[in-house]
Symmetry: D2
Subunit: 488 residues, 4 copies
Amino acid sequence: MSAEVRSLNEECGVFGIWGADNASNITYYGLHSLQHRGQEGAGITSNDQGTLLNYKGLGLLSQVFNDPKNLAKLTGRAAIGHVRYTTAGGKNFDNIQPLMFRFSNGDMALAHNGNLTNAFSLKEHLENEGAIFHTTSDTEILIHLLRRSSHTAFLDQLKESLRTVKGGFAFLLMTEKKLYAAVDPNGLRPLILGQTTAGAYVVASESCALDSVNAKIIRDIQPGELIIIDDTGYKVDYYTKETQLAVCSMEYIYFARPDSDIHGVNVHHARKTMGRLLAKEQPADADIVVGVPNSSLSAAWGYAEASGIPYEMGLVKNQYIARTFIQPNQDLRERSVRMKLSAVRGVVAGKRVVLVDDSIVRGTTCKYIVRLLLEAGAKEVHLRIASPALKFPCYYGIDIQSTKDLIAAHQSIPEMNQTFGSKSLGFLSVTSLIKAIGLKTTAPNGGLCVAYFNGDYPTPLYDFEAELQAELQRLHVKAPKRLKQEVS
Amino acid sequence: MSAEVRSLNEECGVFGIWGADNASNITYYGLHSLQHRGQEGAGITSNDQGTLLNYKGLGLLSQVFNDPKNLAKLTGRAAIGHVRYTTAGGKNFDNIQPLMFRFSNGDMALAHNGNLTNAFSLKEHLENEGAIFHTTSDTEILIHLLRRSSHTAFLDQLKESLRTVKGGFAFLLMTEKKLYAAVDPNGLRPLILGQTTAGAYVVASESCALDSVNAKIIRDIQPGELIIIDDTGYKVDYYTKETQLAVCSMEYIYFARPDSDIHGVNVHHARKTMGRLLAKEQPADADIVVGVPNSSLSAAWGYAEASGIPYEMGLVKNQYIARTFIQPNQDLRERSVRMKLSAVRGVVAGKRVVLVDDSIVRGTTCKYIVRLLLEAGAKEVHLRIASPALKFPCYYGIDIQSTKDLIAAHQSIPEMNQTFGSKSLGFLSVTSLIKAIGLKTTAPNGGLCVAYFNGDYPTPLYDFEAELQAELQRLHVKAPKRLKQEVS
Amino acid sequence: MSAEVRSLNEECGVFGIWGADNASNITYYGLHSLQHRGQEGAGITSNDQGTLLNYKGLGLLSQVFNDPKNLAKLTGRAAIGHVRYTTAGGKNFDNIQPLMFRFSNGDMALAHNGNLTNAFSLKEHLENEGAIFHTTSDTEILIHLLRRSSHTAFLDQLKESLRTVKGGFAFLLMTEKKLYAAVDPNGLRPLILGQTTAGAYVVASESCALDSVNAKIIRDIQPGELIIIDDTGYKVDYYTKETQLAVCSMEYIYFARPDSDIHGVNVHHARKTMGRLLAKEQPADADIVVGVPNSSLSAAWGYAEASGIPYEMGLVKNQYIARTFIQPNQDLRERSVRMKLSAVRGVVAGKRVVLVDDSIVRGTTCKYIVRLLLEAGAKEVHLRIASPALKFPCYYGIDIQSTKDLIAAHQSIPEMNQTFGSKSLGFLSVTSLIKAIGLKTTAPNGGLCVAYFNGDYPTPLYDFEAELQAELQRLHVKAPKRLKQEVS
Amino acid sequence: MSAEVRSLNEECGVFGIWGADNASNITYYGLHSLQHRGQEGAGITSNDQGTLLNYKGLGLLSQVFNDPKNLAKLTGRAAIGHVRYTTAGGKNFDNIQPLMFRFSNGDMALAHNGNLTNAFSLKEHLENEGAIFHTTSDTEILIHLLRRSSHTAFLDQLKESLRTVKGGFAFLLMTEKKLYAAVDPNGLRPLILGQTTAGAYVVASESCALDSVNAKIIRDIQPGELIIIDDTGYKVDYYTKETQLAVCSMEYIYFARPDSDIHGVNVHHARKTMGRLLAKEQPADADIVVGVPNSSLSAAWGYAEASGIPYEMGLVKNQYIARTFIQPNQDLRERSVRMKLSAVRGVVAGKRVVLVDDSIVRGTTCKYIVRLLLEAGAKEVHLRIASPALKFPCYYGIDIQSTKDLIAAHQSIPEMNQTFGSKSLGFLSVTSLIKAIGLKTTAPNGGLCVAYFNGDYPTPLYDFEAELQAELQRLHVKAPKRLKQEVS
């Protein structure tokens, strides 16, 4: 289902470039193709021969840089940028990134995608030592750690800090002379290195951002690595060797753009294969296959191809965004869905429809889409979800914050059919999901994080450990198995 | 190809409602689903017990009604609205509709979609009699005619005026007591009547607007008809019986939303059939079929199904709109296409691609899309257009203003392959187009206007007759056959 | 009292220039110095070798031309502009001027300051002949008359039209080749001709606009004159010889900027003299003189000088404009005054204050200012008004629309003292007003319109005649004497 | 001269309230009357039962709180607010105050007016200990000191921190339970305590803000005092007894609003007396006295009264703010002055004018005003400045950053007459300035800081000491005498 229609949201996209004329312009284009990862704030920091220049604001990139002059002021041959989805506490200017840090011995800018699992305890500890935090985000913790490190060399300070923070992260840190890039020891959050035809180095959350600036992929940044870019080129260092690949599977299922490749696997291709395997695991006796535009189209096509049931355009998405003025006696959320999606009466009337969606979170919009189809004359709707049922929260940077919001954690298949008005409902198995993505690795779960489906978190949860246990107990959900020791 | 990426644009959508609480709110929702028909201005006029209230502005509907208070002020149980695409002279507030006319014996509001072919001569004549025009649009001519009519009854004045204007039109006229709707004697521009579940009557350019407000189709408004709606219900009258159906075929090919039905034919279905027939007429030896998102997807799926070549998502459309900051040494238009579309490297690399587009106007963006695919590694691109080649201007309300802009009027197939970088190129035949749409009528050309393809204009061209002849001669294009007499 | 604090408002300022590079820029500067005459809309029409270009919008000039590009587009060596105060019906884009009229034989732009007394009947008559009005303003009547004139020469058509409209007016009409300027047969509304140091001709509502563009005064435009400007220079023609000077006295009292000269009399000087004569007619036993900033300062200084009582800054005006967020249990209007004016405690505490204001309309704000002073510790407040008491409506272009709004028409001096909380109250006499302004003329009332004070309207009132009689009867106000025949 | 026309600017105004319904609304009104102290940013932090809520932005208060909802969200019975003039580094969102600090043991908000003279060295020291600064302003230093204090009680931590920072300051610090207010040991920056009629306590930079919210003055906050306000009332404590009054004399001369009282002296009254004494020290043989609106009016009236030369309105200020579109061959600054001020030809033509201005910084605008008067026909212009000549920088919070910008530091009286085009020029003496203000104190220089005039800085300059010496040497300006020891 399309990102606007639902409540599941990725937190942020990052982009960095070193060694290009118009670095901030290129960063703008790169961020533009990462806009789906965050729409509530954007910012760019450029580096003009050691001077860091910064501009950011609330809203879409095109709103933040509404006045071209603000982009033009960001001169220099290097830049990093950020698009943000704010998870908690509403819109807050202070949290928009890149964050700037101005020290007497030089400036730094930091952009971060992810969520730290030991942020609370680190913050408390640092504050007790006199640290003052200006944002409510996790991001600035890294810099406090770095400035208080017992090491004297900057690189050692940075590595120590990266070892201290836990969870899912992808950091871009720009100093006056260098650009650093690193992901967490499980590679939960994606980050990819490339090079433009003109020779500049580029780092981005997704490869689609590389394409948009005419850059070729060099390599995905691996767990534990620390990439160091400067005027002499790039170097692959590492801050830890205790790593184990566990890429966020939701990136393949829903977040990433279909034209991106993550760890060598094309996202559209993975989704189509999910649809094909879904057709085998969860067949349906129906006349047409309909996907929820736009993000479920790949899976729906796969389903259609594998099942032999023709794909039809049974739902149309309005490309224009409208305000919803609430009317008496009408549900706002339903109105909101109706403003975005329309059923094609001439296509679905009298038909038995297989409705393919990529995932189900709360199930609220799913209910309305089934109703849209039935009101347009569909005889029956068979709901097929191209991913396993979401049952557990994510603590690594996806906005699935509580089990209580996840309908599949509380309702059985028959109950959900009742809720949605669907004739039948089927999910993809975790095994098929792993097979569909098919990473080349011997790591557990095929190198993927599938914790939201089965509770098998790839790391200890630190500050969230107790919270999860309490919530599961309260909700009478069986505690998931858990890795008993630190990753190694 | 999607409306934003190209230079071919529909001029306007209209929506009217009579007999509903929150009439202006419903009109907002209706216009929202017609937004694809015009993005440069929008307006709504409501009727609160005979008092006409008006609000309009430049930009998208959601920009114009950015402040909900402005919509809330439009009280009353009837309303008409308009979304505008300005053809000539750039953005001009005065031309935004509905136009208001305040007379001492009552107010009127008028919304219009189409283009009059005798506007220049009528204006000149009226002006010589003292009429003062305030807009540069054709629309107000109707009211000047009406106020100068020799008839005394309003209905006779209106009918006489409708007989006097020529060309393609769909008018909504709201007076203090009634709502009138009419289309031209050929039904060139679409207009459809419906009724909401709550009993209010609705008239709209496309049936998708009826769906968006929970209204059921009653009937397409037929050539020469004059629909009169008031508190007692609706009545079908006519202003002329000299009619002949010639619906604009570009509505089916490109303009209308796929979920709309026009004269009983679903647009998506028609497009898919165009794709199927195209596959038979213009087969290609290739590995995958790729459609230009979003408007060519239906045709591309039809092509894939009929040819047996698998459909793949080889192009992705960015759902966010960005500004383009021009860079030195870079072509703006290409940048603009790159900001909107991306080729999916993982899908097209090494593949022979059938690229299906709905139509070609200038060919500029087509060229860039072919290049996008080739740069992403496509082995060869076979371009297939799901409509005949555009060679002649339209004078009935589509922004194809001059033969000189139409690449297919000047280049042969091999020349175009050279221009585009495509390996092969094929268009749909006019015969197959007519068959794909399949209107139930005995009118010439299957009840369609296909003049832009073959010059067979369904009416005399009045003020444009000489202009067309001169242009064709200058461009060395063979003059098209023409109907020798008035429609009858 | 300053324009923002009160309800008395001038309707519009006009500015025109012929023969200058950057004509629209100069018009912008000219209009800027006329901004006090209207803040609700602004527009400029330029003339680029016969092509008329237009831009206008709601709000202050600086808001309308917020984007310099919109001004830059108005190329050409001639331009006219307008700042508007909308009297009736709220903000309405359509009424913003200059109005554009595009005819097949050439374009025209019209800017108007004033009010026509026979607008209703002319409109009714024209409409019955088929004319369509697009605005609710009086202004377009002139063009309808012109286009329907029986004369064939444009100049004769224009003169006939100027003879047909009645009331107070100042018109600027720009055609492709010429700029025309005229005022009504009484010269009620001001208009002045000048020449820039670079030789361009300038026409403006007030001479301060001439100063702001480095132009020297040539002459005030006299009643009945028609000034014609083109590339060969300017010519003084006339459309009627039946004239009699009756300049609006409120221009001197309140509207015009103190640095303007009208018919040879400096406005600041006139006001100061009003204050001096007021001191003689209405002395007060007090310690300090305080003027209401900014428009009453001249009069207050005059009062102080003539009375020998020292002038003190007892009231301060906040130069910043703030929104008023209403609080419970608090009167909005009072809050609004408090946001704009502050009493200077250290100056007024313990003092007997002569408060000089230029005029009293409703008296509401006057009441609050007296209270401000008393709350700041003033021992007593003696209110002195530097103009006669307003008792009758104006039909010539000032927003004093009804006798019922004028407190002095309903309350005696003791009643007003009660209302305001003042210890004493005194107005200037009409005789002293005429003496203070001192125009060199033998026309009645010293060449001034003083109708709002004594009902002695200089012209028949046409459409308003019956309205005024009815209102006065209803309000039990004695009907004023009236001129019994047309001006001659 | 008015604040907009010149380059001399106060840095910030602060306002706080404790114990009122609608505390943030009242803060809005209070800040509105302090808007003249800073126009580049504004913010309010409210305290809703211990929860601190914050909103701030760039621009005027009315722009920042353009949407009333943003003010309405700031619930609670206490609030502090700030209006900012950014001195260095341009507009920067991060520096807008109040600054928020969120600690695990409670939130704080801080608003500051002034400049610290040991900020650089303190920052360097703190950073070396691991502190991270997020703004480029001095303000957050206080909190870093507080959090690192060796004391354990909050009050002791705060007092120690206040003793550590040096320079001119007025701090408002709001914690969850209390509001603290303090000024520097010399009282350089003003701060005043009051109480509303409803019983709430108010602290503000100027007493005019107390008037605007119906609060009565309790007392000026004295050097070294620490005012502590909570639900039980207010308490006067102190953080140091080593104090010596040296109020910034520029507050009386130019910055403060005329309706404010500072240390018991009304600002208008002080200015008028400066004008009177100026008339005696620097008489002129002239016909009229003209003041530069608005800030020099008080002094000009004083000059007129004492000299017997009549005051006239020779200059008018445009109350509307316009953009300046640069024209070829025209100086932007001159255009800018012309847009704001006009000479009244009818008043000044043929006259010998005494032009009274409050102070001269660069002299650029002064030059243009003299020219304005001469162009309007003034026979000669005698320039009289109602304060001593500015020759030295201020390090306590006024934007006079360098001696090189001060014309009077480099030019003699005859040279300045040449520069300005004035016939004569005279300044007020320091002795008369001190007498005109007349504080009741035995402190040196009448309890005033007059360092900008004579270099007699009331404190050591710490980080600026060397900078000043070097600059003076480079500019060949004689080093000023200096206090040889710490204040005591």
